[in-house]
């Protein structure tokens, strides 16, 4: 359930749209929320968009403006007043990432067409013809049952609520609908819930996904059932699971109460079965933002099984007190800057790039070959990426340290433009000429000793073969940032370009930020239509109860295991190595058995 952990809801009493009067604010992080109206109106406007009132969902204008280093959004509802929220906590980064925004193709066969062609977006969803980006990652919910009861979660079935658990035929039908999308269907599917391993036929579901042609099959999971039942890891791997997209909110017990104690077992099961893991921290300011660097270090310690860390700044869904919202809000640039601080500059702000950058490679290959490739036309504010190489001496090398990423992508873009309108042979000639020039963007003196990046790029471009990346994949770590929206920072333009979609049993396909932000008319409504009432479920599943689904752990027993101490007690601080500057990562601590003090450097 990791991607859905971004949603955080508190039934609050305060009006979330109240206007604050100027008051002395010491914390610069909170200051942008406390300007006067006159001050805000005097600040430079960067852009205008359509957003929603968090109270009544009226479509209103959102003004995106610069407040010092911050990019903010303000919106005024005639009935509920002004709402101010952080959009992007770094103006320079915003302007840099914005350069590569582009409109994609969308769907040639949208699931839901309206006479108004989606004019009432985001309330015309289904997917409509207005949508600009094809499905890049499809989510399919296979159950709303969960073995945990996280206090901030609204996805799992509570006592007496209907059970949503489609059968295999219904799930296969959703898979087929996704593969039927034109001009290009998604290659990647994420099976989610609730907790998907609660579905009794989860292995068959993965098998079906492979049969229907999905190359990448992910399970969005706590991992607990896999850790407790290692056989399941083998079965899932054999069936075709590529990775576990696994919740991991931090290295310590306090920051990761969800599955801290089971992580060692999960890693072992994944290690033995060769399952890959993506660690997915939901980042909430004041709760776990101090362990971002330590999380990356943890991932590097487990590079044989961890493929990536995908940070998800929290999505604040539901009414919550304004003060709490301000304190807990964190955006992608802030998380990136915290990583830079916590890793002592080893992973810098400039090492990150937005998703549309990479779209230029796919456009190049498409222009050369005439074959559809993934269109990475997501909104630039939705995510960011960084690629780390870990050399044989432990040196951590971000891709941008030896590749002029910006220059390379611009060069490829220009080549794509040059190919337009040319015949097949002329395109090939242009491409060959461009490939010969790739070397000037790569500093071979700084690249990892174990790879020849120029040759690797040529292989990708000439053979369109991304599997060559797998050859050195054991020594790399992908870092991602994915920030799902909420009603406070909602930007309809981002929704129109969303690539993370949910397939629904009624045939509709919904972007993440309509499915989850307006669950009352999408997720919950449609799932309820297709759910089994509690009484019917209990009749057809004799002996089943809601409480029997719940996992109860014995923390002391788990903490006393060898695996636990091996995982948390033997961590190496890679950032403290002399090749990486010699300074320890922030909040790195080594757990010790009870009776001994935890050690480490803060």
């Amino acid at each position: 359930m990791s991607s859905q952990d971004s949603v955080y809801a508190v039934e609050g009493a305060e009006d979330s749209a109240s206007v604050k009067h100027a008051s002395p604010i010491v914390d610069p992080v909170l200051a942008p929320y406390h300007r006067t109206v006159a001050e805000m109106e005097g600040m430079p406007v960067i852009d205008r968009t359509t957003t929603v009132c968090p109270e009544c969902k009226l479509l209103i204008e959102g003004i995106i403006y610069k407040d010092g280093d911050n990019v903010m959004i303000r919106k005024s509802c005639p009935e509920h007043g002004l709402t101010v929220e952080k959009y992007w906590e770094d103006y320079d980064m915003y302007m840099k990432m914005k350069k590569y925004d582009y409109a994609g193709r969308g769907f040639d066969n949208p699931n839901y067409t309206t006479k108004t062609k989606g004019a009432n977006c985001p309330f015309d969803c289904g997917m409509c013809e207005r949508h600009q980006t094809h499905t890049g990652l499809a989510n399919v919910v296979v159950t709303n049952r969960c073995h945990l009861s996280c206090w901030y979660c609204f996805f799992f079935a509570k006592e007496g609520e209907p059970i949503y658990e489609p059968n295999l035929d219904e799930i296969r039908k959703m898979f087929k609908s996704l593969k039927n999308q034109k001009p290009i269907s998604t290659n990647a599917i994420q099976i989610t819930g609730g907790e998907p391993t609660m579905h009794p036929q989860i292995v068959d579901i993965v098998k079906m996904a492979k049969e229907e042609g999905f190359d990448q099959v992910q399970l969005n999971t706590t991992g607990i059932n896999i850790g407790l039942n290692p056989d399941l890891a083998y079965e899932l791997k054999h069936a075709g699971t590529s990775t576990l997209y696994m919740s991991f909110d931090g290295v310590s017990k306090r920051t990761n109460p969800k599955n801290h104690w089971e992580i060692p077992m999960i890693l072992n099961a994944a290690r033995k079965s060769k399952l890959g893991i993506v660690l997915v921290p939901t980042v909430i300011r004041t709760m776990n933002e101090h362990e971002l660097g330590a999380t990356i270090n943890f991932a590097i310690n487990n590079l044989d099984v961890v493929r990536a860390v995908n940070f998800q700044p929290v999505s604040l869904v539901g009414r919550m007190p304004t003060g709490m919202r301000e304190k807990q809000r964190i955006t992608i640039p802030s998380a990136i800057k915290l990583i830079e601080q916590q890793t002592n500059g080893v992973i810098k702000k400039d090492d990150w790039f937005s998703v549309p950058y990479v779209g230029s490679i796919n456009k190049f290959i498409e222009s050369l070959t005439g074959e559809y490739k993934y269109d990475l036309s997501v909104h630039f504010a939705c995510g960011a990426a960084c690629y780390l190489f870990i050399d044989s001496d432990g040196r951590i090398i971000p891709l941008t340290e030896f590749v002029d990423v910006q220059g390379l992508f611009e060069y490829i873009n220009n080549t794509t433009i040059e190919m337009k309108g040319k015949g097949r042979l002329a395109r090939k000639a242009i491409a060959m000429k461009a490939l010969l020039g790739l070397g000037k963007f790569i500093d071979s003196a700084k690249q990892p000793k174990s790879i020849n990046f120029t040759e690797l790029l040529k292989s990708i471009f000439l053979k369109h073969d991304f599997s060559v990346m797998g050859k050195f994949h054991m020594k790399t770590l992908f870092l991602g940032m994915m920030h799902f929206q909420d009603e406070y920072n909602y930007d309809v333009r981002r929704v129109e370009k969303c690539a993370v979609h949910y397939a629904m049993p009624d045939g509709e396909v919904l972007p993440f930020c309509t499915f989850n932000i307006f669950p009352e008319i999408y997720r919950d409504k449609i799932q309820k239509q297709y759910s089994t009432p509690a009484s019917e479920w209990q009749r057809t599943h004799p002996g089943w109860t809601y409480s029997k689904d719940k996992y109860i752990r014995n923390p002391k027993q788990l903490e006393s295991s060898k695996a636990y101490w091996k995982t948390y007690g033997n961590l190496k601080d890679y950032f403290a190595l002399p090749v990486n500057g010699g300074k320890p990562v922030a909040n790195f601590s080594i757990e010790k058995p009870e009776g001994q003090k935890s050690s480490g450097v803060k």
């Binding site: 309206t114 039927n180 098998k207 079965e235 074959e371 337009k420 009624d506 045939g507 008319i521």
Partner: protein, 209 residues
């Protein structure tokens, strides 16, 4: 199979399906939950634009209509001053939330939009054949060529690309099957059970279907 004849809750030969409870349709021997079958679609036209106010308020009205459990879909068209609602009527044979045209008229009135029920067009609507079937198998409304190509260039290349995609899919499937065999061979003991299951499936000539 003519979808309009698909029975709910029973097999195509009249036999009870699955658990024998709940609304389902059977397609080619497979069971799919179907919360609705015959519902209603009402269109209110010639509304006063002054009451719809503007596009943002029309969108919000659409959202408010969708909040009602008995409303399956709603579309408020500000430009044509029209509201279309697909709803689960009071006499529907299902256990989902229900409503009536009269209740919808009242709700709209509370929102400041006064409709004339006598001029409303309220017809039967087959949820299964109209909404469900079309969503799962939507029509193609345009054709986008690959980047850098015109529509004419693409129409000359399309069949070659489709053939290549089919060949690629087959190759990928074969490669995955070979990998599965090598994975089983590399792991002993604990996956013997999986290996035996896989062998018997291969012998049967099919996997889950």
């Amino acid at each position: 199979m003519d979808r309009r004849d698909a029975p709910i809750g029973t097999g195509s030969n009249g036999a009870k399906t699955g658990s024998g409870v709940g609304p389902y349709v059977i397609e080619e021997g497979k069971q799919y939950r179907m919360p609705y079958r015959m519902v209603r679609k009402v269109t209110f036209s010639n509304l006063k634009k002054a009451e719809l106010l503007d596009l943002p308020h029309s969108a919000r009205l659409q959202y408010r209509l969708m909040l009602l459990g008995a409303v399956i879909k709603a579309a408020v068209d500000f430009d044509d001053a029209q509201i279309t609602i697909i709803y689960n009527p009071s006499n529907a044979d299902n256990s989902s939330d229900k409503t009536s045209q009269g209740e919808l008229v009242k709700m709209l009135s509370k929102e400041g939009v006064h409709v004339d029920p006598s001029s409303a067009r309220d017809v039967d609507y087959d949820y299964y054949t109209e909404l469900y079937a079309n969503s799962h198998n939507p029509k193609t409304i345009k054709e986008s060529p690959p980047y850098g190509y015109t529509a004419d260039e693409w129409s000359a290349m399309r069949s070659k690309w489709q053939k290549k995609m089919t060949e690629t899919a087959t190759r990928k499937r074969e490669k995955f099957t070979r990998w599965q065999a090598s994975y089983l061979n590399s792991k002993l003991g604990i996956v013997q059970k999986i290996a035996e299951e896989h062998r018997s499936e291969v012998e049967k000539g099919s996997t889950t279907n």
